[in-house]
Symmetry: C2
Subunit: 152 residues, 2 copies
């Protein structure tokens, strides 16, 4: 099994970063505007992605496995691209210097496919979108996310 890991620092209180990750509104402001469902433990969150032209790219459905206030958000992928199903996504929060540090992992990929490399880079841009949302009030969620390639 192979994993994607990332780390970003956000100049904001840990509670504000946690709120952005643990609520539908926060996820809609950083990852994709089309975020729906329940962000409580045991709930399912749906994420759908579009091109700026309106064409649908695809989506994911996550089950919320764990919420630890100001510490951790953990999901399992229930539906989406075949490579994503059964993988685990985790955001861990801590404080260092004047930053809230987000340590991110997307684990249990079965193979290191080209799509995994794409998702690794794309996750970095979404974590920086989360940073921008929390620090400035404005993220870059889909359909206005930063394009990185022909796979968008």
């Amino acid at each position: 099994m192979v994993d994607i890991v990332h780390r970003v620092g956000i100049k904001a209180p840990i509670s504000k970063v946690y709120a952005a990750l643990a609520t539908i509104d926060g996820l809609a402001g950083s990852w994709t505007r089309e975020t729906t469902g329940s962000s409580k433990v045991g709930g399912n969150i749906g994420f759908v992605f579009h091109m700026p032209t309106g064409e649908e790219i695809g989506g994911f459905e996550m089950e919320v496995l764990e919420l630890a206030t100001d510490q951790k958000v953990r999901w399992r992928v229930k539906n989406g691209p075949e490579e994503w199903i059964g993988t685990d996504i985790e955001f861990s929060l801590s404080r260092q210097d004047d930053y809230t540090i987000v340590t991110f992992s997307h684990r249990k990929w079965r193979e290191e496919v080209e799509f995994m490399a794409h998702c690794s880079t794309k996750w970095a841009t979404f974590l920086l979108s989360l940073r921008d949302l929390v620090e400035t009030g404005e993220g870059k969620p889909s359909p206005h996310d930063l394009p990185i390639s022909n796979w968008h």
Copy 2:
């Protein structure tokens, strides 16, 4: 052993992307302005990073293991942070649609440390800097690289 992987697409001929990765000038335009040495096979390239305020952050020395024109650039880390020494960095190029695809890997990390997560995110930003350099003539090399955290 654990690996970092990324994938970006660049709207430019493969030869232009290769030139940016296989020359000191190209690396100085995308990764760090302070890039020196020989980018030929068997040569050593030195990379030094600074804060915008001028303070030195650190650096790496890579041996060029492989150059395959318009296909691949591969380095081994000879000096730098302890976690980097002996790791391998590879850029593989291919064409898809109207893009040159860069598939990137930084392999043979001995442990999945927090610094690895930082480097993973930072690599994504440098690959997007490479994209900007090749597409627009202007990258974001150190000391003007995009800050991502307290570790810069």
